[in-house]
């Protein structure tokens, strides 16, 4: 498949794709981009896969704070007595 094409003016829009996805563009520019996307398959693809890239990272499950790491943190801060309290309430 061909690269995004200079002749279609793709490059002037590329820098705004993130703002477009985030809904942070002013209305006039947003409309311009939508008109371009309607006509340009390559840019539609870039926007679609850019959106999916963000979604993929957002849906990946975040790492939990391991219990031993938490324990050492409370210890280094000299807060150990509070950890027991914290865990007692977390467990209920």
């Amino acid at each position: 498949m061909a690269r995004t094409d200079e002749r279609n003016g793709c490059r002037q829009f590329l820098a705004f794709f993130s703002d477009y996805i985030d809904g942070e563009l002013e209305a006039a520019l947003c409309q311009e981009i939508e008109a371009h996307l309607a006509a340009c398959e390559n840019c539609r693809l870039v926007v679609d896969t850019l959106r999916k890239t963000i979604l993929l990272y957002q849906m990946s499950s975040p790492p939990e704070l391991p219990a031993d790491v938490e324990e050492r943190l409370f210890k280094v801060l000299d807060l150990e007595p509070y950890l027991k309290h914290h865990r007692a309430h977390k467990g209920t």
Partner: protein, 209 residues
């Protein structure tokens, strides 16, 4: 039972008064998020733990300097991000400083991968291989782009908050975020392109349906 110091203003007041229970409450509330951020930034569990500890040691010591202009969470993110970037720089002394503009060559903005993934994130669970590729892609980002992406898209901070954490303007934060996303997109597109060769439907399917 109501969590202690449910109101952040009460928490901050108690912290400034040197209340140990308030310090514990702050650690309870924010340590999971700070650890997650640290792990995504430095990508090593031991170093992430160091960053976590350094963040809260510093926060407990310097809470009198917290002026309440940002939220407590944003303030902690800022300490943690700086600590994380410091670790990365120690590891790779040649990488750019946080204050350097991230100037990339002109070609950076031209997407090279123009392949339809044939895959919808909403429809499928992530498999281990894809998770590995996603981790690899983050690892390849320059640290300043990585920090912007992690804060904004993984931790869910607003543009204004991410800019505040990074100590840069909102427009600079947007530029970094966009460049990070575009690079990640390129990397993931290569993965999906390779998988489309195997199955006509591409993506995660194995061609049996």
């Amino acid at each position: 039972m109501e969590p202690r110091y449910a109101d952040e203003r009460d928490l901050v007041t108690a912290l400034k008064a040197g209340d140990r229970a308030a310090c514990a409450a702050m650690v309870e509330r924010f340590s999971p998020r700070i650890y997650r951020l640290a792990l995504k930034l430095v990508r090593d569990p031991d170093e992430a733990e160091d960053v976590l500890q350094e963040t809260f040691i510093s926060a407990c010591e310097h809470v009198s300097q917290f002026e309440g202009r940002s939220s407590l969470g944003t303030w902690l993110y800022r300490i943690a991000t700086n600590a994380g970037l410091m670790h990365l720089r120690r590891r790779q002394p040649d990488t750019v400083s946080m204050n350097d503009p991230v100037e990339l060559e002109e070609g950076e903005f031209v997407p090279r991968q123009l392949v339809d993934w044939g895959w919808n994130p909403e429809d499928h669970a992530l498999n281990e291989e894809l998770k590995r590729v996603m981790d690899e892609a983050i690892a390849m980002l320059p640290e300043t782009l990585r920090a912007a992406f992690v804060l904004r898209d993984i931790e869910g901070l607003s543009t204004a908050e991410a800019a505040e954490v990074l100590g840069i303007t909102e427009s600079a934060a947007k530029v970094r975020l966009h460049r990070a996303r575009m690079r990640l997109r390129e990397h993931l597109s290569r993965y999906f392109a390779a998988h489309q060769v195997a199955g006509a439907n591409g993506g995660q399917r194995d061609g049996t349906d």
